[in-house]
């Protein structure tokens, strides 16, 4: 049965059970409806949707939580000790600035040999998020939901939980869909106040008016639809209004932490005051970051495919006051992140959720000293840096690759950004060559025309 015929049939009983169950997806397209939610690639017949799709091959990871640490966290001070401290400690070395994550090393795989193509924040961010140093190209999250759709169509497929203190560098470009259809771009859900722009009227109106508006609109649209058989886009529009109504409930519910147990809240550091003062940025403590980590878990629980948790500006950009700033960044994020891993594991979600902790590049081993101010930090270093992943088919307790003895350059098993992208896609059951979008006669891919290698060594 083609989608067109399907629409034709359900349109007879517009508010039937079948409709509410099946017509929940957003539709996107020029015209012509063929194919269904099982179609191997979205976009057949000009229709794009976020219906769940089978991956190219079986895989463990169903969702992704990207904990993006803007600014370039210093590897040698956090994850890549020099010289050879891991030998003394045994196992994976994680800095004492991150005591909570240090206790979860058995869940995580650290890649110490990442390298990227630019030492400038904006360009390196484009590279990390989109695979090339260009604005206007799709981000990883957009590619993933383009490829896999989403399990819960009452919520956006790709959710961004941005920091109430402000947007990261490059702003909304960090979750744009570029040349992919706009339904694949990330949707910001706010952790404070209403989760979504225009989710509710700015000034509430009397129930009588709300009810009247909804009812009359439904009646008028039903007449409009009835008089125009054979036009499935009208069903899609009606469905979009119903989805909007459900979003009001579901988005609010997904982000409502009032039913979380006190133990959970405490574990994530919710309500805890900051323990240290940041020098070049304000440390609000773990409270809000913790809340957003819980929200990320709640979203993944509900079937959201891709969640990106942001920090404001670029707090990890420690050019001066390295120690104070790193401690402040860690104070804010370490406990929530570790709690997220523990919580996901406890709920049996870690196996199907790929958690990624990363910044756009690393920092130089050689200090940047400002003698007059008496402060020290580290400058950007794209040639060698660390990140870690956990869950979703990643082999915990792994350390992969190495930088030279100063931590300047990835020397052993270097991993490029395109390798990372191919690996993440692989964990989700997607092959980077097969996940493409036809555009002006070209097959666009996140890995462009690079020839990446899946880092199989960190796969479980």
């Amino acid at each position: 049965m083609t989608r067109r015929h399907f629409f034709g049939r359900v349109s007879d009983g517009i508010y039937g059970v079948a409709l509410t169950h099946l017509l929940t997806g957003d539709l996107f397209g020029v015209s012509g409806l063929t194919g269904g939610s099982e179609s191997p690639a979205p976009g057949r017949g000009g229709i794009y949707d976020v219906a769940p799709r089978k991956p190219h091959f079986e895989a463990k990871a169903k969702s992704v939580i990207l904990l993006f640490m803007n600014g370039g966290p210093s590897p040698m001070d956090l994850l890549d000790p020099k010289p050879m401290l891991d030998k003394h400690h045994g196992g994976t070395w994680v800095s004492e600035a991150m005591p909570h994550i240090a206790r979860r090393v058995d869940d995580i795989a650290v890649i110490r040999s990442m390298h990227t193509t630019s030492p400038a924040h904006p360009a390196a961010l484009y590279k990390f998020q989109g695979g090339r140093m260009l604005p206007g190209i799709p981000t990883l999250g957009a590619w993933v939901v383009y490829g896999l759709g989403t399990e819960n169509r009452n919520l956006p497929a790709f959710v961004v939980l941005d920091d109430p203190q402000g947007l990261p560098i490059n702003g909304i470009a960090n979750w744009q869909s570029g040349f992919l259809p706009p339904i694949y771009q990330g949707t910001r859900l706010r952790s404070v106040g209403d989760p979504l722009l225009n989710l509710r009227p700015e000034v509430a109106e009397p129930t009588a008016l709300v009810k009247m508006g909804t009812r009359l609109r439904q009646q008028l649209d039903r007449i409009h639809r009835r008089d125009r058989p054979g036009l499935p886009e009208l069903d899609a529009r009606i469905a979009s209004y119903e989805l909007a109504a459900r979003l009001q409930l579901e988005a609010t519910d997904a982000l409502d932490l009032s039913r979380e147990s006190p133990r959970t809240l405490e574990m994530y550091g919710v309500g805890r005051k900051p323990a240290v003062v940041g020098k070049t940025h304000v440390n609000p403590g773990p409270d809000n970051y913790g809340r957003r980590c819980i929200m990320a878990r709640r979203l993944v629980e509900r079937g959201v495919r891709y969640v990106q948790v942001c920090v404001n500006s670029q707090i990890w950009d420690s050019h001066s006051h390295l120690e104070a700033d790193l401690r402040s960044c860690c104070d804010r994020t370490d406990q929530p992140v570790a709690a997220l891993l523990a919580d996901l594991k406890e709920r049996g979600l870690l196996d199907s959720t790929l958690v990624i902790w990363a910044g756009e590049f690393g920092r130089h081993p050689i200090a940047q000293i400002m003698p007059k101010q008496g402060v020290a930090g580290r400058d950007h270093n794209p040639r060698g840096f660390s990140l870690w992943m956990a869950g979703g088919g990643v082999k915990g307790g792994t350390v992969y690759g190495a930088t030279d003895e100063f931590g300047y350059r990835a020397v052993e098993n270097p991993v490029s950004i395109e390798d990372l992208h191919a690996t993440i896609l692989h964990l989700l059951g997607l092959h980077h060559e097969e996940l493409f979008f036809e555009r002006s006669g070209l097959r666009e891919k996140i890995t462009f025309n690079f020839e990446p290698r899946v880092v199989r060594e960190i796969l479980a």
Partner: protein, 1000 residues
């Protein structure tokens, strides 16, 4: 200048250079031993001898026909060893010692090459090639660079990249010009730069080797990089060989058939001129109003269908008005049409709509999509980049041209070569035509371009040129030319050479080695501005001076007001800021907090050194941003928002100096080399100006002449423009009529508007497309004539209802068995909402209205005294477009948009339902209706439908609306204020109804 943006470029450069060097080194070390060649004692070096005696015969037999000196298919020439080593357009084809990495051998082994040989290359010959590669090309490779015969074209690209910015056309630092052998030998103040045969005594080599040139301190000022060791070595070798020059003519189209594009290639439907076609005979002759109907009917009849019934007048006027003006018809307009009982009433309606100034605003926007129009420069760092102060003149030019029905051929000529049409440089009087011509050239300045405001390197500039080629290709020619930048097109017969011939066509104005920047970025090299002064036609100089004075005076007044408001904003946030600070201080160590409190109380001038350093150290802690304050306090957010808007509005009203963002030929383009793999570090053969060969007959040379006698301009773009508007051009007319068709009928006859090539869609009605294209040209390229033709056709006037037959036999409406139901696009929706609410400010033209992005992400335009202006007059952003537009698929210009997507998503519903402005518009409409319709509820509801939907409600709609109204009003207590609220809700419900958003 933004230094951070330089980093990626520099990094990329060193990486590429590094890779290059290390590979070279690798081969040196890996295969020196293979030097024991098969045959010693000859005069030729071993590898030459081996190549000539063993390998070349194989190539001669099987390969050189295509990959020889003559044809150089894929830029590969296998006729001699040094050209083999240069590789093809996609890089090296042999890697000495490694058959598995040698593309040449891989293709032989897989049987792909030679293409016409059954069973592939005979085994013995295959073995020869294999042995040759495995032996490291019979070794001796280290000599190859040294003994490779070089000529001036091996070194000119190096000098262009690194030297001629200061020692070239625009500037002869130290009186030195390094653009030709002669000028190098002549040298400058310090003597000759070049002594043939003596590299180590040549000053230029010495200066580069010592690192004195290019001067390190100034590299970033002019966007030049240091010379790599391999390039320096190449320069040395050339000088050592005596600095030989060869008379190599740029590769241009000649009178011989083009070897790279065959006649078979040219036979593809889109590459042949549109044919004169007679409309076919049809059964349903009574349905034929004009030939369009005959073509459409013929296809329908083939499927057992015919045209649907004609739509009623109410439907037609709404459809036609929204199509042509982007606005719904007003009730008086509808009444006038209904009352016109003349047989030509509908034709008159179309004429009237075409005469409306709103037509140019509607259709101008479509053209701006094609041109990639933006009021922002764009950039690698920030997608918006700084504002383009003068772009709006081009936008106005487009709107005016469409309203005046400027013939499309003329429209293109002006935009592509306006500077080469009339001599404006030596004229005594500037005419309106000259001004228009120059404004039109803004077309090729619309792509994202950060090179005007920050330092750029050669490849950044080439990116700008590439974007313009893409815009020309997809927008005007329906060709994906951009694919041929790095290699010959994979689907279409466009060799990479053709791409660079086009680049050379633009070079008189867009020359990556002689680049115009927006601001002078260096004391050393003053880049010229990329704008020209705007001179109102026929204005005398005295009046100009006065105007300038007046402009400045007006701006000063505004500046004063801005300052006052800024102060007020500061005052308004003071208490809140203090509170936030106090809370922060409460969280830190008390002793430190105490010090900081004291610090805050001490005026900056009175602070001691300890306090000063404290202030520096805790700057972040002590800084409270405006956004933080807004997050904290909703009242402050609202008030500050208002003040900020006022400030932005006053700033917006300040008038920029009158300028034209233009493009003009500067008369001295640098030579163009094909770039292998699109890499500017791998120049290939020298090419001259030309157009894609497959679109010509392949025999007539493409002629370029100066635009008028004595002109300094090259005339290259003029030649391009003339070629494009030639009646035999296969694409220009087709692409444009197809675009117009798409906007009227919902789908192009060729569905891929920007790609008529092999990977694009085939036309559903090829004869109709040709007929329309020829008709377009016959009617002097009049776009309005084509609108008229399409809109008066019976096909256009069909009802949009889908019957069971149509659904079964033409499910996707590819054959137009009905009119396609359409959804309003973003600007039609926004403009219509404003219009029906009585809040559309229809003031045309001029600088764009500002757009604000609220802290929660909502983006809106400024509301003036008369409401809001049409969407085309808002600042066109590259990111964060006004939410109403953005949600309804307003395009992103990257670099342009040839076809918009259409989505139906929940955030659209949320926005129309909950956005405060849209609710306010509904209330405005309710007030308007009360004023116009009197007290009767029934009359009010009817009026509402007339205004919003341009029709009366049906009996059913009327009944439901009244019912809803009465019950809600009753629940609210039947008060008079409540009555207006319910009426507003009714209006708001209509705004959200499918009947409003969709067009029948």
């Amino acid at each position: 200048m933004n230094l951070s943006s330089l980093q990626p470029t520099r990094d990329r450069l060193t990486r590429t250079a590094g890779l290059f060097l290390s590979l070279g080194l690798f081969f040196w070390i890996a295969w020196p031993g293979a030097a024991s060649a098969p045959d010693e004692g000859g005069e030729l070096p071993d590898r030459e001898k081996f190549f000539r005696e063993k390998v070349l015969p194989v190539f001669q037999e099987h390969c050189l026909r295509c990959h020889g000196e003559q044809l150089m298919m894929k830029e590969l020439d296998l006729s001699n060893l040094s050209s083999v080593l240069k590789g093809s357009e996609s890089g090296p084809v042999v890697v000495p010692g490694r058959v598995s990495e040698s593309k040449l051998y891989q293709l032989i082994e897989s049987g792909s090459m030679p293409p016409d040989l059954d069973g592939g290359l005979p085994e013995a010959q295959r073995a020869t090639i294999k042995a040759w590669i495995e032996s490291g090309l019979a070794s001796g490779l280290e000599e190859s660079a040294a003994s490779q015969a070089l000529n001036q074209h091996d070194v000119i690209p190096i000098l262009l990249r690194h030297c001629t910015t200061c020692h070239g056309l625009r500037r002869q630092g130290n009186d030195l010009d390094l653009r030709s052998r002669a000028s190098m030998v002549q040298g400058g103040k310090s003597g000759p730069a070049l002594i043939p045969g003596k590299p180590d005594q040549s000053l230029m080599v010495e200066m580069i080797r010592s690192g004195k040139m290019p001067p390190k301190k100034r590299l970033f000022e002019v966007g030049v990089t240091p010379v790599s060791d391999s390039d320096l070595e190449k320069l040395r070798q050339w000088i050592l060989q005596g600095a030989p020059e060869e008379d190599i003519r740029p590769d241009v189209a000649g009178t011989e058939p083009d070897p790279l594009v065959s006649d078979r290639d040219r036979r593809f439907w889109a590459f042949q001129p549109p044919r004169q076609v007679a409309p076919p005979a049809v059964e349903h002759g009574n349905q034929v109003v004009n030939p369009i109907d005959a073509f459409v009917l013929r296809k329908l009849e083939d499927r057992g269908l015919s045209l649907s019934a004609e739509a009623d007048r109410l439907t037609l006027i709404r459809r036609a008005s929204l199509d042509l003006t982007g606005l719904p018809p007003t009730p008086p307009e509808v009444r006038r049409f209904l009352e016109d009982r003349e047989p030509r009433a509908y034709q008159r309606l179309i004429d009237r709509l075409l005469e409306s100034g709103r037509y140019g605003e509607r259709w101008g926007r479509y053209w701006l999509d094609v041109a990639g129009y933006s009021d922002h420069e764009g950039g690698k760092v920030n997608a918006n980049g700084p504002g383009r102060k003068h772009a709006w003149r081009y936008r106005d030019y487009v709107i005016r041209s469409l309203n005046a029905d400027k013939p499309y051929d003329r429209f293109l000529m002006e935009q592509i070569a306006g500077d080469e049409l009339v001599d404006y440089e030596t004229t005594p009087v500037i005419t309106g035509e000259m001004v228009d011509n120059l404004i039109a050239t803004g077309f090729l300045r619309m792509g994202p371009d950060s090179t005007g405001y920050e330092l750029s390197f050669v490849e950044d500039r080439f990116d700008v040129i590439a974007d313009e080629i893409e815009i020309l290709g997809t927008g005007i020619m329906g060709m994906t030319l951009q694919c041929a930048r790095c290699h010959s097109h994979k689907f279409d017969p466009i060799p990479q050479r053709d791409y660079f011939r086009l680049a050379d066509l633009l070079k008189g104005a867009l020359d990556e080695f002689d680049w115009l920047a927006g601001t002078p970025i260096s004391e050393v090299v003053k880049f010229e501005q990329r704008v020209l002064p705007y001179v109102p036609p026929m204005t005398n100089p005295m009046r100009l001076l006065e105007q300038e004075k007046e402009r400045k005076a007006r701006n000063e007044v505004l500046e004063e007001q801005v300052k006052e408001l800024q102060q007020a904003l500061e005052e308004r946030g003071r208490d809140l800021r203090d509170r936030v600070l106090e809370e922060r201080l409460d969280q830190i160590a008390p002793a430190l907090a105490q010090d900081l409190r004291l610090l805050l109380k001490t005026p900056e001038a009175d602070r001691n050194s300890g306090q000063k350093s404290l202030a520096k150290e805790y700057m972040q802690l002590l800084t409270v941003t405006a956004n933080e304050l807004k997050e904290r306090d909703a009242v402050y957010r609202r008030e500050a928002g208002k003040l900020e808007r006022k400030i932005a509005w006053l700033q917006h009203r300040q008038e920029a100096e009158p300028r034209i963002r233009a493009l003009w030929d500067r008369g001295a383009p640098s030579p163009t080399y094909l770039l292998r793999r699109g890499d500017y570090l791998s120049p290939g053969r020298l090419v001259g100006p030309g157009v894609p060969s497959v679109l010509t007959d392949g025999r007539s040379p493409f002629r370029v002449e100066p635009p008028w006698p004595g002109s300094q301009k090259t005339g290259r773009r003029l030649a391009l423009a003339k070629w494009l508007v030639d009646r035999n051009h296969p694409l220009t007319a087709r692409v444009m009529v197809n675009r117009i068709w798409k906007h009227h009928f919902g789908r192009g006859i060729v569905e891929t508007l920007g790609n008529f090539g092999k990977s694009g869609a085939r036309p559903t009605h090829p004869e109709l497309l040709d007929w329309l294209a020829v008709e377009f040209m016959n009617r002097s390229w009049s776009m309005k004539a084509i609108h008229r033709l399409m809109m008066t056709s019976r096909t256009y006037r069909q009802s949009s209802r889908v019957g069971p037959e149509q659904e079964r036999l033409d499910p996707e409406n590819r054959f137009l068995s009905r009119w396609p139901l359409k959804r309003m696009d973003g600007e039609a929706l926004r403009d219509s909402l404003l219009r029906v609410s009585g809040r559309l400010d229809e003031t045309p033209y001029g600088p764009p209205d500002p757009v604000f992005v609220r802290a929660d992400g909502l983006s809106t335009a400024y509301e003036g005294e008369r409401g809001w202006r049409r969407s085309i007059y808002l600042r066109q952003l590259r990111m964060n477009s006004p939410t109403t537009l953005d949600l309804f698929d307003y395009p992103t210009m990257n670099p342009n948009c040839t076809e918009r997507a259409q989505s139906t998503v929940a955030p659209q519903a949320l926005h129309l339902l909950n956005d405060a402005t849209i609710r306010r518009l509904a209330a405005d409409l309710a007030r308007r209706v009360e004023g116009e319709a009197g007290d009767s509820l029934q009359a009010q509801v009817e009026r509402l439908y007339w205004i919003v939907l341009s029709r009366p409600p049906t009996a059913e709609e009327q009944r439901l609306s009244l019912q809803s109204f009465r019950s809600a009003w009753k629940e609210l207590g039947n008060g008079s204020r409540e009555r207006q609220r319910v009426l507003a809700k009714l209006a708001h419900t209509l705004y959200n109804s499918a009947a409003f958003v969709y067009i029948d």
